[in-house]
Every structure is written in C-alpha cells, then in structure tokens.
Symmetry: D2
Subunit: 230 residues, 4 copies
C-alpha cells in the first residue's frame, strides 16, 4: 500500500525490483490508491512476466483495518480475486470485483468523489438550516429519514455534537484527513481528464478541500469542511 503512482511504478517496474525479483507464481496484490492507468500499466507488465496481479484499493480507514472490516475494490481477473480472497478476507468484510485491471482504482475514485460531494453537501445543508434557525440534530434527523439521506449524514455527521463517536465530536481529530481526501479527488480529476468526463461538483469539491487545507486544516478529518460554512 504505497502513497502514489510513481512509487508503485518504481517498486514493481524499477530495475531489480518486484517484477524482476519475485518468485515465479507469486500472486501480486497492490492495495495502493493510485491512478487507474498506472495500475493497469503495472498489471500488464506483470502479466508479460507471467505474474497474476490485482489492484485492490481499500476504504474503511485505520479503524476498518484494525477491525477487519475494510472494503476492497478489486480490478483484475475474477480467478485472481478468488486466489486473493483468503488474504483479503482476513482484513476486510466487503470484497467487490470491479472489473478488469485498473477498475478497482476507478471504483474507488468514483466512490470517494461521491463521498466528498455528499459530505460537502451535507455540511452546506446543515449550515444553511442552522443559519435559518433550525436545530442541527433535528435537521439531521429529518433529512436522514427523507430523500436527503446519505452515508455522510447517517454515519459521519459533520456537525459537532450531533453524533457521538464521529470526528466532528472530537474536534475533527482522527478519521480520514482533508489532505487524503484532496488526494483522492485529484485522482478522480485525473480520471475525468483521461476519459473526457465532466465532473462539476467533484472538481468543485476538490477545490474546496484544497482551499480548506491551504487555510491550515490539512490534517483534520474531512468532515471539518463544515467549518468553511459556519
């Protein structure tokens, strides 16, 4: 699980590195969150040398890892996924086959972009309601049982004091950091550029997270974006 595409390319493709040194028949599982093009390129090089490889980025954070409740989004052959399943199952609860090599990365980029969008949207909606005189807990309850419901609202409420045991209730410590979310939104932007997609809310969410980081909040949990609206 490496931080970015160049690290992964180096570790697998560099002189004397994995593809040149791994034992024949080794199953390669890369859990980094990187560009899907990079994942596909490394997988292809692995196949040329006879290795089976999957890209298997995770979501669920350190708590998910500790509790073996991570989600794996897997790109590569289904047969390879079955070989990997016992290993992945030891760490995760949901293991999805997203498609061919690189598709694990696509699934994660899309998911995290959507997560960022509804987190920012939830923050905006709660701040708007509070400025208009509503109680944030009451508004959260109403939207949570209505068509506004989403994972951020239900499991990870960004307003301090509405839910116990979420980062918002401990000054946004722990959790999934602003800079990590900005990085993932950057990967979604790269995918949008490479595929010609337009993602107006997703790219705006990235700008907001980058500005939030610029203002000194890069290490806070990503639900702290609500501070921009309070």
């Amino acid at each position: 699980m490496l931080p970015s595409s160049p690290h992964v390319e180096d570790v697998y493709l560099g002189k004397g590195r994995l593809l040149e040194s791994a034992r024949a028949g080794t199953l390669l599982i890369d859990c980094s969150t990187i560009a899907s093009e990079a994942a596909a390129k490394v997988s292809k090089a692995a196949a040329v040398r006879g290795f089976t490889m999957i890209d298997a980025p995770v979501s669920g954070g350190t708590a998910g890892a500790a509790g073996a409740t991570l989600t794996f989004m897997v790109g590569g052959d289904e047969a390879a996924l079955e070989l990997a399943r016992p290993v992945l199952s030891a760490m995760g609860k949901n293991i999805f086959h997203a498609g061919a090599a690189g598709m694990g990365q696509v699934a994660k980029a899309c998911n995290n972009m959507l997560l960022a969008i509804h987190m920012v949207g939830t923050a905006e909606a709660l701040a708007l309601g509070v400025k208009c005189g509503m109680d944030p807990a009451k508004l959260s309850e109403i939207m949570g049982k209505s068509s506004g419901n989403n994972w951020s609202l239900e499991k990870y409420n960004p307003w301090p004091g509405v839910q116990p045991n979420v980062p918002a209730s401990r000054d946004y410590a722990g959790g999934f950091g602003v800079d990590l979310m900005a990085k993932d939104l950057g990967l979604a932007m790269e995918a949008a550029l490479a595929s010609g997609a337009s993602t107006p809310l997703g790219t705006l969410a990235r700008s907001l997270y980058r500005m939030h980081s610029t203002a000194g909040n890069g290490r806070l949990d990503f639900s702290s974006i609500v501070k921009m609206f309070q």
Copy 2:
C-alpha cells in the same frame, strides 16, 4: 398546496380571503413549498387574528400521496402539529416537527438541496466510471455498499437500466420534474441569501438544473441530469 409565495400570501392575506373569511378556531394547514419568510409572515398574521397555523410542506410526490406515504415537515407549535396529526396521517407516514413557524420550509429546502446535490453527484460518478470502462450496475452496487451510498443511488438510480421502476428506466417520465427541482433549489438560494449562508454545491446544482431545463428537459424527471454527463 399552492405553487409559490405570492399565491400563498394572496390566499391568506388578500382582501376578503382566508384570514378574513375563515371560521374562528379553524386550524390552518399550508402544505405549499414556499419561502420560509413568507410562511412565517402568514403564520404571524394568522396568529394575530387568533388562528392556529402550521406550514407543512411535503415530500414523496404523487406516488407518496396516492400511497399515503408522504413525509410532512412541519413548522409551528407542537400543539398545533398534534391537532393536525390525524389529518396529516391520512396522507403521510413520516411527520416531523421541524421547529417554529417557517421551519417546515427550511427543512424542506435543506433536504431538497441535499437531494439535488447527491443526485448530480451520483450522475457524475456513474458517468465518470462508465467513461473509464466500468459497468454502471456494478459501480452502483459497490458505491451503494460503501461510503458513497446515498438515497439517489439506492432508491432512484439515474442510470438507465440499473434499477427497475425508477424514472431512469422509463425515459425519465413521471417522477419529480427538473423544473420543480430547479424551483426548490431557488428556494434554497433565497434562504442562503436571506441568512448569509454560502452553498457552493447547492447553487451550482441549481445552475445545472436550470441549464438542463433551458436545453428542453424541464419536464423530465430530475434524475435525467445524468444526460448532461453522458
């Protein structure tokens, strides 16, 4: 249930209209979706004349009305809500007390703004995934079981053919129209202006819905926004 603030003000406040003609002791229930300031103003005028009034906008559409599963978001005294409950229960399943007069409107504006944001976000994420090579049903399944989950994805998937019995699977006929969503987003914008809130994703969603309408899609279901990204 009237279309906009001026209609409601006229029907209640106009010469010889409701506040001048209703029988003493009548409980007034207004189910229009209008500006919260207008709702609060009418409620106050009603109180001055001795009437009890609630603002009780609904969500759930024509299907919800037919099946008596509407959601009511109620502003006004709790005692007034209890008086109204038998009537509302005949049409709705969830009846929420949002707060003082006008707060029913605030709750609905916030909820529908958040709904629009995650509908547009879901459309963007699915279109991005498909352009990168993923299957939309597979991507919907993965995000639906992950942190990207939201009501639009789970109950109202905008991609044609992914879910049965949703507008996307019948050419976006029926459902909740683009122009109605644009109207509700306009009410959220009015609330943002009146309260000094900033709602970057919400106002962008309104612009996108208005542009989608301008392109001739005003009467399609609001999940048709995915066409802008395909």
Copy 3:
C-alpha cells in the same frame, strides 16, 4: 444612497416619507444599489404621484466620488436622465442610460458580477502560475497583453507587489470591501432567481466571497480573495 431595498422602500413609500412630502415637480434620483424590482416598484409609485424618478447606482468607490470620476448607470426616461445630468456630472465622468426604470440596477448587478468573476479568475490564474514556478509580475504582463486581459488584471492586480497604488500593495486596506462585493453578488443572485437565469460562475463567486468573509476577511478589499488560493 441607501444600503438596501427595504431602506429605499421605506424612505420613499413609508407613511409621511418622500413621496408624500416632496415638493411637486421634484426630480428624484436614487443612487442606492438595490434589487431592480424594488427600484422599479418605487419608480412606478413615484410616477403615480407625478414625480419623475431615476435609479442611478454608481461604481467607482470613494476615490471616484472624491475625484468626480464615478460611473452612473441610469434607469428611467431619457428625458429624466437629461434633467439629472448636470447633477450627476458634478460627481461622475461616465453616465450611461441603461434603459427603463430598474435597468440601472440590472446593469450594475451584471457589471459587478462580471467584475467578481474576473477578479476571482485572475487570482486563480496568478496563484496557479506562481505554484508552477512563474513570476507573478511576468505572468501579469503576459496575460495583460493577451486574451486573458481584464480590468482586474490591468487596473487592480490582486497579487501583492505587482502594481503600486492598489489595495494588494497595502495589505488590502481601502478599496471595495469583500462584504460589499458579497452583497452585490447577492443582488445578482436575486436577479437570476427572479428571471430564471443560470449564473454558475457568478453564484460560485458569491459563495467564495461569503466563505472568505466567514474566515474573517469581510472588511479587506475584494482583491484579497487571492489569499484563498495562495
């Protein structure tokens, strides 16, 4: 020159106020920056009572007022504008006839929305260039002589030290404040709501100015928006 629509309505339309107390034949010149609907409503009421009235919002700031170089954007009859011209000329250099009553306000709202958009855009472009290694003065010079040129870049460069005698070179003191710009962008949003227009960049600019104000910068000059990107 009053701060907002309700003040203007009160001063002209209130019991015993201007329309009831002004001498017959008085030419009414309102230089407030307010909603065009409010301006048109007051003008109409003035006409009913036999007064000639124009809406004549200004741009140019305190420096423009002191130097008699203000710009007036006038709504109302051309004949009324000619009556007012000697008075306006004593304070301003450019006097434009924008159209019928209220159109002075429309012209100003559109102009200031466009100003905000290219100020934010200029700030983004300069910050992007600097982060990529360019000198901000060099980049300003190149864009200023190319198709990126605009009033903000040419007359009011937001990057500190690039131009003398602009707010950016005195810690953003003086000039046109962030909160005033946010107010004008609010009027443009009101106009967009009333007319069904979509203004994606304009409403995003308002959100950014509101967030910048929320972060404590409401009294700085509006070119300080560049701080969000540095």
Copy 4:
C-alpha cells in the same frame, strides 16, 4: 506544433527521432500546447544531448498566423529566445519570455484558463441582463467602459449581433473551437493537480465546456457557450 504531450515526447525522445537525428547545433523550437512537465522533460533531454530548446506555445489562432500577429509565450534560456526571435517574429507580433523551460506552457495554460473564465462570465452576465430586460448591446457598452471590462467582452462579444466580424455574428463558425478550449482547460487542470493549486472557476469552466461539447457543440467557436444560458 503537435496536438498533445505524448506526440511531442515521441517525436523528440522516440528511437531514431529528433534528438537522435537532428544535426548538432540545431535550435529546437516546439510550438505545441502541452503539459509543462512534458515540455520541461523534453527540454532537459535535449540539453543532455547538447541541443538548445525552447517551448513556445502560441495564441492568436489561424487569423493570427495568417496575419503574422501571433503571440508566443516562451520557456527556456533568454539567449535561446534571442536566437529564435527572427523566426518567431516572422509569424508573431508579441514574443514574451515567460521563464525557464516549461514556463511558456504555464503562461499559456494560465492565460487560456483566465480567458475561458471571463468568456463564460461575460456570457452569464449578458444572459442575465437580457433576461432582466436589458439590451445586450447597451449592456456590453456599459460593462465595456466599466470595471466589468475584459478581452472577451471587448474583442470577442459572445452575443449574436452585438459586434461585427466575431464568431457570434456568424453562427459561431470559425474562431477557437469548444473542444480546443476544453483541451486547454484540461492542461490547466493538470497543472493545478501537479502543483496542488485550487482553481474553482477554472475547473468549473472546463466542466461547462465539456458539457457543451457533449451536447454536440464541440466544433463551434468557444464563445457559443452563451447558448447554455440563453
């Protein structure tokens, strides 16, 4: 002048291509509009082999090329720029030294992002004014002499019939195409990703241009974006 980074990398760095086949001492001038990283990488490889190279993207379009009025934004040594000047002068009027290798690309990406932003902004402002009842020529004149002035408004008015001899007055034929602008905005996004910059209006402009292209307008002039708002 090649279409994208991979083409340039191939032509210069490929086996048996330019860097391996050019005569010693050849001055290399690349006028492609590509990523600055790619330009810097090729320049560095050229230097290793003893060549002097500049990146010199242009603006001004086919009319500028025909009339020898192009603008060149040059990255590389100043001495190299002086060597190239006679050649560039035969085609262009403004020749700017933007900085070290790759900076020509940075300057062009920033300039064209800013151009796109004020073109979209001008289109929004004009459409807003017209929907509120103003004459587009009158509004253009007023903003053109006020703080809303920018190159798009002054030289390239997007509203049909306001200016002669611009694409808007010939059904958006000729000029600088929507797809080319979307490509340049993609390069600005790449630069923002690589440098960690946030460009909220710039990335939103890209999304709007991509959506406009998706709706079938990819080959129209980029001022046709006004159609999205009419």
